[in-house]
């Protein structure tokens, strides 16, 4: 039997409705043409499908379809936005602001720019995982050209106040990029209202296929980018490469469905998430990581103190979940996100991320609750730290033999 899937924040299965439109864009009897072909009907039909998909993406985030650039996914969109803006505007300044808990696509793009001579300010989140507009405002300097802050955090699911941060950036005339890979179909997005200049999306976190994403690039006032991929001049020169029609129509359909169903879906996810939390919070020493209110409904990141995450995942082999502990090397590094919240390493090592999605049922949740309770009890019986906690030992006074 396959485990029950609780890792929707890692990726989602493609919705069957999405798979259907994708399959119609592949074979000889389908819409297989190259959308850049101008001389025959195969190209025209493919182009039409792509423009319709572009409209669906634009509708979800309330922008003009001409502001959507297709990419291979959110990683590429983040790279294009951050490096593209930095390279284009570097004569105005070489300072960029981001946070310590961004996705690696943002962190590593910024690190690359540091190597190229740019200066990056890495903001600390509050202990609840949020980045405040005040912190952004305080970090802006005359030579700041870009702020990049994520909408929803992939590990802890907290939702930043993008509108407030956007207002700060607009007032200070600094471009604002938002990684929205985790928020489409979960949180309302209005790029106009939020004062966002660039926004990265991907399809596969919202029941579309992997390998396709988009970047929103504001037209008024116009945001300029230096292309990172050169070639046929597709996507108004911002991103060359033949457009993958089947992937694009898949993303379009996924975003169209998201717009129609997200509010009802969110209510359902919230009920399931609360059921999961209610089921486990009765145990001792259980902590929710990240703000519980300002958070997408499908995410529960939770630490079970005195139980190590990898052994917990092993005990929960019937559940497909992820852990904040990466015990795979000699230097056991817990999640950089949880550490940046100021959490101690023990708790970071003891964390699990459940992410609930379109195909999660109440029965799945009840099964997970029973499994988690059993596993935590079993592992605490095995844990010398649990013994010490029960004996009232003050952990701060223990001398550990670190290794």
């Amino acid at each position: 039997m396959l485990p029950i899937y609780f890792d929707y924040a890692a990726t989602t299965p493609v919705d069957p409705r999405v798979a259907k439109v994708m399959m119609e864009a592949l074979t000889l009897d389908g819409n297989f043409g190259n959308p850049a072909s101008r001389s025959h009907v195969f190209g025209w039909r493919a182009e039409e499908a792509i423009e319709q998909a572009r409209q669906h993406v634009a509708d979800l985030v309330k922008c003009d379809p001409r502001e959507i650039v297709w990419t291979s996914g959110a990683t590429e969109s983040d790279n294009l936005a951050i490096k593209g803006v930095a390279h284009f505007y570097q004569t105005r300044g070489k300072h960029i602001i981001t946070s310590k808990i961004e996705h690696k696509a943002v962190l590593d793009s910024c690190r690359q720019l540091e190597r190229e001579g740019f200066e990056v300010t890495w903001l600390d989140p509050l202990p609840n995982g949020l980045i405040t507009p005040e912190a952004v405002a305080a970090a802006i300097r005359p030579d700041t050209i870009l702020v990049s802050i994520m909408h929803v955090n992939n590990e802890i699911g907290v939702i930043n106040d993008i509108k407030a941060i956007g207002a700060v950036c607009r007032e200070k005339k600094v471009l604002f990029h938002v990684d929205a890979a985790q928020s489409t179909g979960k949180v309302d997005i209005d790029v106009e209202d939020m004062n966002v200049d660039l926004m990265a999306f991907c399809a596969h976190k919202s029941y579309g296929p992997k390998g396709i994403g988009a970047l929103y690039v504001r037209r008024k006032p116009r945001v300029r980018l230096e292309a990172q991929m050169h070639g046929g001049g597709h996507e108004r020169g911002m991103r060359s490469g033949t457009l993958p029609t089947h992937q694009i129509v898949g993303m379009g359909e996924a975003f169209r469905i998201a717009r129609l169903e997200m509010h009802e879906e969110s209510r359902r996810f919230k009920a399931l998430r609360d059921r999961l939390l209610d089921g486990v919070k009765g145990m001792e020493e259980v902590y929710v990581n990240g703000d519980l209110e300002q958070r997408v409904p499908g995410n529960l990141n939770i630490s079970f103190n005195y139980v190590e995450g990898e052994s917990l995942i092993m005990a929960l082999k019937d559940l497909a979940i992820s852990s904040g502990s990466a015990c795979t090397s000699a230097s056991l590094e817990p999640s950089y996100v949880l550490r940046a919240l100021g959490m101690n390493d023990e708790l970071a090592h003891s964390s699990l991320r459940f992410s609930i999605g379109r195909f999660t049922t109440e029965a799945d949740i009840d099964y997970a609750v029973a499994k988690v309770r059993d596993a935590v009890s079993k592992l605490r019986e095995l844990s010398p730290l649990w013994d010490m906690y029960k004996d009232g030992v003050d952990f701060s006074k223990v001398k550990w033999a670190a290794h």
Partner: protein
């Protein structure tokens, strides 16, 4: 990460889980690792008048390989003399459990634990 059947067996049916009375002069305790590193092992042995380990108990906070390494160790040390037990090498544990390279540190920790437990009981008995 896939685990060997031996690791899974020790993880699912850990041997000799528990605690011995540390105030007993014949009990040695080795506690190694640190919570910040993701693993802590507590290994305890009780030694008879002839210096032979007659009981061993463990509790481990850590990944499946760490739990299996300490569980296996409690089986191995029973019936051995203190000096003999202190000779157990991490490579033997890693080999027996089929640990992958990234999990070798778990067997190192188990070796440290038995050495620490042996040293503790020797000190208590005034042999060190």
């Amino acid at each position: 990460m896939s685990y060997s059947n031996k690791v899974l067996d020790h993880y699912e049916n850990p041997r000799n889980v528990g605690k011995l009375d540390d105030s007993d002069a014949n009990v040695g305790t080795g506690m190694v690792g640190a919570p910040a590193c993701g693993d802590v092992m507590r290994l305890q042995i009780r030694v008879n008048a002839d210096g032979v380990i007659e009981d061993a108990k463990f509790k481990t906070y850590g990944c499946g390989s760490a739990i299996a390494s300490s569980s296996l160790l409690t089986e191995w040390v029973k019936g051995r003399t203190l000096d003999d037990a202190a000779q157990i090498r991490n490579t033997e544990i890693a080999q027996e459990l089929g640990l992958p390279p990234v999990k070798i540190h778990c067997s190192v920790l188990a070796e440290d634990a038995i050495k620490a437990a042996v040293a503790d009981v020797k000190q208590k008995r005034g042999l060190a």
